[in-house]
């Protein structure tokens, strides 16, 4: 008895069975189909489309470039970011590629260390937010009922807290703050939207029949969440993390810029803050504030473009095929 290589139904007929012989990978991400989901050739297909998606490739390239800078850059710098090394307010030259600040600090060194700090805060802060968001979102979405109501209320409260005011209070108490504190703060305050989104996806996946089947197999709730539900949302979770990462960087830059950032070390936002404080704009010292500004914009912008590209990869309906 011969086995057909594709034993699904035909692309348009039959009672309620979803067409299968269309363009491969079916949505598992944010716009998941309400009916049957089928990842035909799964990761291989996703990879095929990933490698051909311009947005994803472009965004990824830029981010990876900056990542290399973050890791390797400070090792190549001759001096620390805040060392007074050269003549003040110098234009970019062959000696100081990014010029110097009003105090004679090497802007390039600051930039290199700044990118590293930025990435750190992004990963730590974004990662923490993602973790909390997943915890709250999965639990609320899977359990439903009273637990869901309670977690919802908690989420709403955190959402509504005026983070800036809280930060001001924290800043008043913690005279000396590092990147870690900033990352923790961002992590603890930016998770609500992720929790909401994950909860919604979990809700819809939870009522799927393969989850019922897992319950009928005696599988416990936690195992179901991690082995049945989360893998089906993997693209969604990846994109959520990317957005949280980018968001964390942006928030950190904003906080740094208004002076609520770390009191030691440097970051791109702090560079811009200092540049503003010391009148770089008025004095025409463009080399002080344009590199960090461009840096932040490029990193965050590329992350968002990557995200759009990923969405197209995971959700075949968005592909221009």
């Amino acid at each position: 008895m011969t086995q057909p290589d594709q034993a699904g139904p035909d692309p348009g007929s039959a009672v309620g069975v979803v067409p299968e012989e269309r363009v491969a990978v079916t949505p598992v991400g944010p716009a998941a189909a309400p009916a049957t989901v089928r990842q035909v050739r799964g990761s291989r297909e996703a990879l095929y489309f990933a490698l051909r998606n311009k947005k994803l490739l472009a965004g990824l390239t830029v981010v990876l470039l900056f990542l290399v800078v973050a890791v390797v850059g400070p090792l190549l710098a001759d001096h620390g970011p805040n060392d007074y090394v050269g003549p003040p307010a110098q234009r970019p030259s062959s000696q100081y590629w990014f010029g110097t600040t009003t105090f004679g600090q090497d802007v390039l060194a600051q930039f290199l260390y700044g990118v590293r700090a930025t990435f750190l805060v992004g990963i730590l802060g974004g990662g923490l937010a993602a973790l909390i968001g997943m915890l709250v979102g999965f639990t609320a979405g899977y359990r439903g009922g009273v637990v869901d109501e309670a977690l919802n209320m908690f989420t709403n409260i955190v959402l509504v807290i005026p983070t800036l005011a809280v930060l001001l209070i924290i800043a008043a108490y913690l005279r000396v703050r590092g990147v870690l504190v900033e990352a923790l703060f961002i992590g603890f305050t930016s998770w609500p939207w992720a929790a909401r989104a994950i909860r919604a996806q979990t809700f819809s996946l939870r009522s799927r029949e393969f989850v019922d089947l897992a319950r009928l197999s005696g599988v416990g709730a936690r195992k179901i969440i991690f082995k049945e539900i989360a893998p089906n949302m993997s693209s969604y979770l990846v994109m959520t993390f990317i957005l949280l990462f980018g968001g964390a960087i942006l928030i950190a830059a904003t906080l740094d810029f208004i002076g609520l950032g770390p009191t030691e070390g440097t970051s791109l936002g702090l560079m811009m803050n200092n540049a503003k404080l010391w009148g770089a704009l008025q004095l025409g010292m463009w080399w002080w504030f344009i590199p960090p500004g461009l840096g932040i914009t490029s990193i965050v912008g590329s992350l968002y473009i990557m995200n759009v590209g990923l969405d197209e990869v995971f959700n075949p309906r968005l592909r221009a095929m």
């Binding site: 008895m1 011969t2 086995q3 594709q6 035909d10 692309p11 007929s13 009672v15 309620g16 269309r22």
Partner: protein, 319 residues
């Protein structure tokens, strides 16, 4: 049947996919007469939905490879979506599968119909009286025009879509699985409505696509059975059900449980094996691997010929 209304010749429609062309419909030649209701029966993957949709050219992934369709003597440009626009809704109309969900949920139904007919160049005011008459015919209150789709039940929505699709009195109506998502009692009402449309002259010929042979047995004049993209048999309804000539039809009909047939008394058998791949279909008769009557000649594809009046079969054993 009197005049021939629809004439299809050697129609081949494939779907483009990453793995190659899916040969969903691979050579269909048949006619439908004026006032005839033809049931198009087959299992999933038989190509029946593709055939139905290709007559109105609605699906962008379909690729017309070969063949012609002639309606009322005029050739339908089914390969050209833009040119088909003049024919759609007026001469050829379709009630698509899942039509119930096809109505815009944010529009009142009356407004949706108005937009639809006006996009075809017909004023809503001119069709409104006829529309209301037809709503009465299908036992829908005229208030549905002011309702949103969500306020109607499944059966009501289906009947509404049927009225809309036949508003311009098309020559050909393609009804794609219009009863599959409905309850048994609503199925009967919808099926009878379809017949009443034909009886009142709102449509000339109808093609009812379904997987449920017993349903088309009730309402169709002829039934055409498809298998794996090819036509297997076409005959008047009573003849097909009582004395099918194609082994597939025979096996299919005998595998259908009926009220009155019990497992303990008579064990029905299905058809062993499974459908052939439509990416690389086998040479010769596609039913060969599962056919109890297969012999050497079956590696050659049997033509779809008329073995007795109005009865066509594609099987070497049936000639």
């Amino acid at each position: 049947m009197s005049r021939v209304s629809l004439r299809v010749a050697n129609l081949r429609v494939h779907y483009r996919t990453l793995r190659g062309d899916v040969k969903a419909l691979d050579g269909a030649t048949f006619t439908v007469g004026d006032g005839e209701i033809m049931g198009l029966a087959g299992e999933s993957g038989s190509g029946k939905s593709t055939l139905g949709k290709s007559l109105i050219r609605l699906d962008g992934r379909m690729r017309h490879v070969e063949g012609s369709v002639e309606l009322d003597g005029k050739e339908l440009p089914i390969w050209d979506s833009a040119r088909m626009n003049t024919f759609r809704f007026r001469e050829v109309s379709i009630i698509p599968q899942y039509a119930m969900s096809a109505m815009n949920p944010t529009r009142r139904i009356g407004r949706m119909v108005a937009e639809l007919v006006e996009s075809r160049g017909v004023g809503f005011g001119t069709v409104r009286p006829e529309l209301e008459r037809r709503l009465d015919l299908v036992q829908l209150s005229r208030d549905v025009l002011d309702s949103y789709p969500i306020e109607l039940s499944g059966g009501m929505k289906q009947r509404m879509v049927m009225v809309i699709s036949t508003l311009m009195n098309p020559s050909l109506l393609v009804a794609d699985e219009i009863t599959s998502a409905l309850d048994v009692s609503t199925q009967k009402a919808v099926a009878e409505t379809l017949v009443s449309f034909r009886d009142r002259g709102y449509v000339k010929s109808t093609i009812v696509i379904t997987h449920d042979v017993s349903l088309v047995y009730q309402i169709a004049d002829t039934i055409m059975v498809m298998y794996a993209g090819k036509l297997a048999e076409k005959a008047p309804t009573d003849v097909l059900v009582a004395a099918p000539r194609h082994p597939y039809t025979n096996l299919l009909i005998s595998s259908l449980p009926e009220v009155g047939v019990r497992f303990s008394e008579k064990r029905l058998t299905g058809i062993p094996g499974s459908r052939p791949s439509r990416l690389q279909p086998p040479v010769g008769c596609r039913f060969r691997d599962r056919c109890p009557l297969a012999f050497e000649k079956c590696v050659e594809e049997p033509p779809f010929v008329e073995v007795e009046r109005d009865h066509f079969v594609a099987c070497w054993k049936a000639y």
